[in-house]
């Protein structure tokens, strides 16, 4: 049994990247649809945004210090871009039995404390995040509404300094929206960042 597990682990090392990318989306793909419960109890779906230019979809959560470090920046993104047609939608992908700080009730508390201006959805049963290939929190997927279809245009970090916003000299999400507004495909469509792994029961 031990050997099998080890062999599996070795195999995983070699196929991890292939597997993780084939499961998720990449820039240019159609965004998987979702209908998830918001902290106010109402169901929010991608279809609700058919009149928006796009959606800044962010997998984030309560417990992760990287997510917490970005909370104010996520609120600022929503305040700046919602009036321009690019609202933020946040999804908590974690299993609260693994990380109790990420329960639905705690989500409601945190959103109230911070004054979230955007929907904060709960990926109940963890069905949505694997379709996107989200691997950590926070993880941004910028979706552009193209004739009613949402196309993934950017995947990655919000900017290039998690610790100190004032020292960030690349604001990836803002750059991507600016490019799309100018009718171009974002030059940087994929970035990596350190984050908390998404908590799944073993």
């Amino acid at each position: 049994m031990k050997t099998i597990r080890l062999a599996l682990l070795f195999a995983l090392t070699f196929f991890y990247s292939v597997a993780s990318y084939s499961q998720g989306v990449k820039p240019g793909d159609i965004a998987p649809s979702f209908a998830l419960k918001n902290i106010d109890g109402k169901i929010v779906s991608l279809g609700d945004y058919k009149n928006a230019k796009g959606v800044i979809l962010i997998f984030t959560c309560n417990h992760c210090p990287y997510s917490v470090a970005y909370e104010d920046r996520i609120i600022a993104l929503d305040k700046k871009y919602k009036p321009q047609g690019w609202p933020v939608v946040a999804i908590n992908p974690n299993d609260p039995t693994v990380q109790p700080m990420d329960s639905f009730e705690k989500m409601q508390e945190r959103a109230a404390e911070k004054g979230f201006t955007f929907p904060y959805l709960f990926d109940e049963g963890q069905k949505i995040f694997p379709h996107y290939g989200a691997s950590r929190t926070p993880h941004v997927f910028l979706l552009q509404n193209t004739d009613g279809k949402f196309i993934v245009r950017y995947i990655g970090a919000i900017d290039n300094n998690y610790e100190d916003e004032s020292r960030a000299d690349r604001r990836y999400v803002e750059e991507a929206i600016a490019a799309l507004e100018a009718g171009q495909i974002p030059a940087t469509s994929l970035t990596k960042a350190i984050g908390c792994s998404i908590k799944v029961k073993k």
Binding site: L9, Y16, R167
Partner: protein
């Protein structure tokens, strides 16, 4: 003339005492070097028959903290062999005093801990491994220029077997 020499001696003694005192203070808690990615890369790129293991972790990362005892144990198990374990902390710089040092003390971490101060992670994650999505825990094994990367939480048996495997000539 004598007076000047005497003054110099006093000054020299004073400087000496000050130096001893500062060394003492540095010794009283575990030193955590703050490194850039280039510092880390220099260590990763060393090509010899020492197995270097870089465990990327943080005090706030639950699975990292759970697997930490396995790394501490491996440090003891492979003490006499050519194995070098380095715990690369991704804690925030502002949390060194409040979280990282107390964690090291509380858990009696005897392995070297380096704080990687490189917030522009997109610039270096691929240079550790193109397979890395960026979540932690993650561990890189390097020996004789050969690299193996795992974005996973180890149990102690797995870790030991992997180290044995990579130590084979």
């Amino acid at each position: 003339m004598y007076c000047l020499t005497f003054m110099k001696m006093i000054l020299a003694t004073w400087v000496f005492l000050l130096l001893i005192k500062s060394l003492d203070a540095a010794d009283s808690r575990p030193p955590v070097p703050i490194i850039t990615f280039e510092n880390l890369q220099r260590e990763i790129d060393k090509v010899d028959d020492t197995l270097r293991i870089f465990n990327f972790w943080a005090t706030w990362c639950k699975p990292c903290v759970e697997e930490m005892p396995c790394f501490l144990e491996a440090g003891k198990t492979f003490e006499k062999q050519k194995v070098k374990l380095i715990l690369v902390s991704l804690d925030f710089r502002k949390h060194i005093e409040t979280r990282l040092l107390p964690f090291i003390e509380k858990n009696q971490i005897s392995l070297p801990v380096w704080l990687l101060d490189a917030p522009d992670a997109n610039a270096w994650i691929d240079r550790v491994s193109s397979q890395w999505s960026g979540s932690i825990p993650a561990t890189l094994f390097v020996r004789k220029g050969e690299r193996h990367f795992y974005e996973t939480q180890f149990d102690c048996n797995e870790l030991n077997e992997i180290i044995h495997q990579y130590l084979k000539p």
